[in-house]
């Protein structure tokens, strides 16, 4: 896997665009997911994710191979999403797009384990509440929560992506979890 990515990056650095298509194919879902949960709007997420990939391509020469490639890509997407969040007016949050139903059917195909929170999530209303709770988080907590729980990254990876000490990442995750608990813990 790593070899594959290294080869692709070499080819991209030589200017071969088709090699970049493989990279986009590989990471598009993860990057899109990150942008979507950060921005709360599918259209904007699509736009941001595309821009993230284009930035990665243009700046491929600044990629330091000692860093995990995915972390570098996440860093670009995270910074871009934060930029866009800041540019947005807060009132946009209120009418942020509600999670559609497309994901639900996929979700309901997952293993059934009785009346767990996972099952409760099948309700559209709950999906919406989770999304709103995430969007209500201040930017620095939202970033770590999304990276940890939506993109399922380790604390070490998050620390690399955000260029923050692990201790700081942990503190932010703790605070983010507490803030989410206030909205979701009573359900």
């Amino acid at each position: 896997m790593d070899m594959f990515i290294k080869q692709r990056i070499k080819a991209i650095k030589k200017g071969d665009q088709s090699a970049f298509a493989d990279i986009v194919e590989m990471y598009k879902d993860k990057i899109y997911q990150l942008c979507y949960r950060m921005l709360g709007n599918r259209h904007e997420a699509e736009d941001a994710a595309q821009e993230a990939f284009i930035r990665a391509y243009v700046n491929i020469h600044t990629y330091d191979p000692t860093m995990k490639f995915s972390s570098w890509l996440y860093r670009i997407a995270t910074n871009l999403s934060i930029d866009r969040m800041r540019k947005k007016k807060p009132d946009v949050y209120l009418d942020a797009e509600v999670s559609g139903t497309d994901g639900l059917t996929m979700y309901s195909q997952l293993a059934d384990e009785g009346a767990s929170p996972e099952d409760a999530l099948e309700s559209l209303e709950l999906q919406q509440m989770v999304q709103e709770a995430i969007l209500k988080l201040p930017e620095k907590y939202r970033t770590v929560i999304v990276l940890k729980y939506i993109d399922e990254l380790s604390l070490q990876e998050i620390s690399d992506i955000l260029n923050l000490p692990i201790g700081t990442v942990k503190t932010r995750i703790h605070r983010g979890r507490e803030a989410l608990r206030k909205h979701l813990g009573h359900l």
Partner: protein, 204 residues
């Protein structure tokens, strides 16, 4: 409200999967006894489960295409290189064509000497072959790197390579007259000649 900051810290350490065994045991026993802390902990666990299992969405189907379309244009050289590796047969064919034409081109360049087919009655003046007035030349004439002036009659074909033909009003050629001045004409002329020779040997 939970009992202390320390207990809450342990809860989060536990959720991070980053807790000492001893602390985990103390957390467990405390949660069993204390309802407030138990509720707080369950609420946190539930929250995490909600967020972890929220639906995943995928970008549009033509996401990759859109990204690729918006990239700055790649270097020409790379495009050619990829094309060559993807079309080995065409690459070999074009390479063959290139080599064969370049060798003919080399011959064309090197061969600068004036020469002509030996035929009766021909007069030569300053790289110009003259078919004199009132004379009849029986056979083909090929002139290289020179001109031909036809004032008499030629019973055959006339070919001028890298030169010009001048046909006087009284002059006459029964066969074809051809001027070959460009390298492509030269190549074509060679191809035709080879074809003609093959046909000739076959009919014999």
């Amino acid at each position: 409200m939970p009992c202390s900051e320390k207990i809450v810290q342990w809860m989060h350490d536990y959720l991070d999967g980053d807790i000492q065994k001893e602390e985990e045991q103390r957390l467990r026993s405390h949660i069993q006894q204390c309802e407030a802390c138990r509720e707080h902990f369950y609420a946190l666990e539930k929250t995490v489960a909600f967020v972890e299992n929220v639906s995943h969405f995928t970008p549009s189907d033509d996401f990759v295409k859109k990204v690729m379309y918006n990239l700055p244009r790649e270097k020409r050289r790379v495009r050619w290189k990829r094309w060559f590796t993807h079309h080995p047969f065409l690459t070999a064919a074009s390479l063959f064509f290139l080599l064969s034409t370049s060798s003919l081109w080399a011959v064309w360049q090197e061969d600068n000497e004036f020469s002509f087919s030996k035929q009766e009655h021909l007069i030569v003046q300053n790289h110009t072959v003259i078919v004199p007035e009132g004379k009849v030349v029986e056979g083909d004439i090929v002139v290289r790197n020179g001109d031909i002036k036809i004032e008499g009659e030629v019973h055959g074909n006339v070919t001028v390579i890298n030169g010009h033909k001048y046909l006087a009003s009284a002059g006459e050629v029964t066969g074809q007259i051809e001027e070959v001045n460009e390298v492509f004409d030269w190549i074509w002329y060679n191809v035709k000649r080879v074809g003609y020779n093959i046909a000739k040997t076959l009919t014999k």
